[in-house]
Symmetry: C2
């Protein structure tokens, strides 16, 4: 079932005006494609990525073990989004650290890395950049735009900004904007990064350091919010981290505490530290700031005094909206706000609230009910 893919880079010489008022004089986007564009160019599906993902959605890189794309259970030959039928595009967003123009790239104005000077990009800016890519690929109308979480916000923005160019919008585990609690978690993560002495005002590249302490904390906070309380209890509960010589047959009552405030005592601590350590090795801190801010800022109803139905009146696409019962980061009620606004506008919308234990993470996982909903939707396209 595995197939090999290669990342491509597309250059854009025309300046991109941004919502913040600045513009990028030129930029490049990393992307991948899977499957074949048909002659009528009517089978293209664009995948928008979430916080820490990239354009590498499906397939794997030749000669690299464990290089499967982040949505490989969803996209590929014979998968719910079947690349034998559809031409699927994965694109990396501006400001990312995975190939598209971002803070680690050279600022033509200074000949140094952008760092913290990279402009604050928004979901709408990303969509504008993606639109140029799609156009250059010769696609006038996308069969579908699809994404989960922050990816779902891009799908919404596509359907409102380019209503005539999207046939189907698939919005998974997403929301019309962040709640105060969502923003709060993002802000704590950003403060952890920005107040790390190795951050150097965002110009740490020049100092040869990385604000790893802050990145670790940011990732640990994120991970807590991706999982449900229940799944954390099932997977980790109050299990102690077993140390050598602490036999598996020991009963819970026989396991002694270490009585330490700094050593790892519980499995959940070990898991979170590991996730934080891994993340700090590969993710760029400035990118983290930009992407969480794009999440905070997204709010299409803002220009309509908070009236989402008015904001979504321009939409022409048909929608599939999916939420997960235990997702407390983007709760089902937020998806239901989208559904209501679409119905207010008499748009065609299918909505499924999947009973899954995994919290927000569920949108990336192998849930049979979820995958079969998507499969069935795409089968009828």
């Amino acid at each position: 079932m595995s197939f090999y893919v290669q990342t491509q880079i597309m250059q854009f010489a025309q300046a991109l005006p941004l919502e913040c008022g600045a513009s990028l004089a030129s930029y490049e986007l990393a992307y991948e494609t899977y499957g074949q564009l048909n002659e009528s160019k009517s089978n293209a599906v664009l995948i928008c990525h979430a916080l820490n993902a990239s354009h590498h959605v499906a397939g794997q890189y030749r000669g690299q073990n464990n290089s499967e794309g982040w949505w490989s259970n969803m996209i590929g030959p014979g998968k719910p989004v079947d690349t034998n039928r559809f031409f699927v595009i994965g694109v990396n967003n501006l400001g990312s650290c995975f190939g598209s123009t971002g803070p680690v790239h050279i600022n033509p104005a200074t000949q140094k890395p952008y760092g913290a000077d990279f402009p604050v990009v928004t979901v709408e800016d990303w969509v504008d950049a993606q639109e140029r890519l799609v156009t250059r690929l010769g696609i006038e109308k996308l069969l579908a735009v699809m994404g989960g979480s922050l990816g779902g916000m891009q799908v919404l923005a596509w359907s409102m900004r380019y209503p005539k160019r999207v046939r189907h919008a698939i919005v998974i585990a997403s929301a019309p904007n962040l709640t105060a609690e969502n923003i709060a978690f993002n802000e704590v993560a950003r403060r952890a990064i920005v107040t790390d002495p190795d951050f150097h005002g965002g110009h740490y590249y020049e100092h040869g350091v990385v604000p790893k302490r802050g990145l670790r904390i940011a990732r640990m906070i994120g991970h807590i919010t991706y999982l449900s309380d229940d799944v954390m209890n099932t997977r980790f509960g109050r299990q102690l981290r077993r140390v050598a010589g602490n036999l598996e047959s020991d009963s819970l009552a026989e396991q002694n505490y270490l009585y330490s405030t700094q050593e790892v005592e519980f499995q959940i601590e070990s898991y979170l530290r590991h996730q934080g350590d891994k993340f700090a090795e590969y993710f760029d801190a400035n990118t983290y700031l930009l992407i969480t801010r794009a999440l905070d800022y997204f709010d299409p109803a803002k220009a309509f005094e908070g009236r989402l139905s008015q904001a979504m009146a321009c939409i022409e696409a048909k929608f599939l909206v999916i939420s997960f019962t235990t997702d407390w980061r983007f709760s089902p009620s937020r998806s239901q706000e989208l559904v209501k606004a679409l119905l207010d506008n008499h748009r065609q919308v299918s909505y499924v609230n999947i009973d899954a234990p995994h919290g927000h993470d569920a949108f990336l996982l192998e849930d049979p009910q979820y995958l079969s909903v998507v499969r069935s939707y795409f089968k009828h396209l």
Copy 2:
């Protein structure tokens, strides 16, 4: 209604053996009392404090504005716990930074502050220390022990460790142990403190610095978990922080984003940063580590292979258990586990799940229904 109080200090020369295996050769406890102990010494109510509180439960300090105790809406003359009838004791726990022996005190073994060498104390250790105070005050049997959150855990420990010395146990917004998610939040907060370069392995006093960055992050995380998603949306929502010249009459749509990753953009960010800054000024980092660890470790059912009903079989006290519908840190279902275990043992228990919007914080707030439940319970004592 205001009344004045003074903090007292009681010295204990007899060594206190701790659960971790170490012992404190000597120690002192800061405490306050309100009301009069009656002749039969049968009207004493002990209040146990939660994470960042102290022995200063009620009343105020003469000549100090805004020095009301942290539970002044609950305890005082004419209050639900009426100090005209009851002799109320507030006690500061070992390891705290508010008067009782803790990391900021001099370690007799080194003649330097304990710092990170202060032994890891548990809820049970606190209760053992409190028991000596109560004994020295001449009280054989407490009319009631009462506490919220971590304070409620101390009430549980009292009722199990000294079953003959507690008539009534009032456990509010608490739990029989922490969930994996609770531990996870504590761990992130601890990592933020421990990895702050100003932490110096817990011996920052000698370096003349305080790990304020870490404390701020810890407090911000804490605050998010004290509030419900709903109350955060009601109080802050997506409101921008109004800047000078940004007229109050501006509509939401007219308010412009700053497009910044580091400046305060939303009210919720301003609130959290302010809470973090305040906390870092007065709270000791080593104390934060100790108290969150005491929370993590508390698990009376552990010695009974997780069987809470067995652990609670020794209890003789009558219970009042209170939870709050929107408390997701110590959810109502956790209180209901306590109620079930008490009923399994045929103990007398009253349970109320208060419909309050404020999340975990509700136990400190002026909710009429909540206060009247406590008032009514104490009226019949």
